[in-house]
Amino acid sequence: MGADLSVFFSGITGSNCSNGSLSLQSKPSLGDLPESCVALVLASLDPPEICKLARLNRAFRGASWADFLWESKLPSNYQVLVRKVFGELPGDLGKREIYARLCQANSFDCDTKKFWMHKSTGGVCLSIASKGLSITGIDDRRYWSHIPTEESGFRTVAYVQQIWWFEVDGEVEFPFPTGTYSLFFRLQLGQTSKWFGRQICNTEHVHGWDIKPVQFQLWTSDGQHAASKCLLNVTKWKYYHVGDFVVDKSNAATKIKFSMTQIDCTHTKGGLCLDSVVIYPSEFRERLKRF
């Protein structure tokens, strides 16, 4: 005599017989997987993959909209981020829509800054325009000018022709989700322009960057500090890594200050384009350094 576990089984998968035991479909296929298992498969994939699988059939499309699925992909403080975008939390927005919305470039602070979520990882990225930075001497046309260009996400860069005291400061306060982040200045020596349809880099004003290094620094309001320095000599757009900082409490917003200086007044420097300061989750650091 033995025990029969069929009593434990009431209506999970396949066809149900009223006497409580189940019969297997004769043709096995993964399409017969229970919904719970399909949901688990989707949960193991990243958002672009989930959206791709929404095209399989109606059942998958439905499963791809499940709130619990997207809740697990959103950063833990997503409600704070949503408020930053919408001003207040809209009541009827599903989690998938919220995710999609946060992945768009969202401007704030009078369009001098924008943030977005990285589609695959949900990591928060932030970019600060040159117009959102404090540049010493920016109003003096002998030194600095703003140049419209398609090469910047903000459509404009700051260009210094020649200056003794080079200093760029900035700060941002933002509710970063917990994690480690890397901060970069995006710079180019020389000025790109189109000449008969071809892109050329005009380096006639480039000077003074190979004598003494440029100093980069960042500080956080909770006492973190990072610094780096280097000589500049690359005549194409490059991300210069300043350092990393850690966010371990995402309830309050993190305040970060950063600066780039070359204030050795024994020589002038110039011919530099400043696009922006960007902050990315550190997992992208090496990729950006090679950019």
């Binding site: 033995g2 576990l5 959206c51 589609k119």
Partner: protein, 187 residues
């Protein structure tokens, strides 16, 4: 002879519990399963613990589970328990921990490589029924690995499902999904 701490502990586990349960599959298979392995099947665990049954050597019939699947499940769960014990024994020793992890990854890769898509599905159904969380997670991840970065057509064939959308629905989905596939700034 130097004490091989890891192996001694693993042996101790299996020696101390020579109790077995007899499981019968729906296609006539009979398996004597070590109690620790059988208790990984939550459906069995609750059968004994929640129902307050005394553990005696009784024979249990598993509807909906076939021989081939059960033997694979037993194989995986037995090895999983071994790895668990080895991992615990290696705790604190980074090199030993890494070795156990690599050994486990090697075993899991080989285990899943041998499974056809059909077998993978049969196992998921069986493991879902038997309620073995760790193995279910492993099988689900294996399915995800097999379909990741594949075309929609491939995945449809993999799951053996039909496209039941109207052209209008397909357009709608295309729009719904556009955000996931367009580029955003410097990435």
């Amino acid at each position: 002879m130097a004490d091989d701490g890891v192996n001694t502990k693993v042996e101790a586990v299996s020696k101390a519990t020579t109790e077995t349960i007899e499981l019968r599959t729906e296609d006539g298979g009979v398996f004597d399963v070590d109690k620790p392995v059988a208790m990984e099947f939550l459906i069995l665990k609750s059968f004994y613990e929640d129902e307050g049954r005394v553990f005696d050597k009784t024979s249990i019939r598993l509807p909906n589970v076939k021989q081939l699947e059960l033997s694979k499940v037993i194989e995986y769960c037995t090895r999983a328990l071994e790895f668990g014990a080895k991992s615990a024994a290696a705790a604190g020793d980074k090199d030993a921990e890494r070795m156990v992890r690599q050994e486990r990854e090697g075993f899991e890769a080989e285990f899943v490589d041998e499974l056809s898509n059909e077998m993978l599905k049969e196992l998921i159904l069986a493991v879902n029924f038997l309620d073995i969380k760790e193995m279910l997670d492993f099988l689900i991840r294996s399915v995800a690995n097999r379909i990741r970065n594949r075309s929609v057509a491939y995945v449809r064939q993999f799951f053996d499902i039909e496209n039941d959308f109207t052209p209008q629905e397909e357009d709608q989905i295309h729009q719904e999904n556009a955000w996931a596939f367009e580029g955003v700034d410097a990435d």
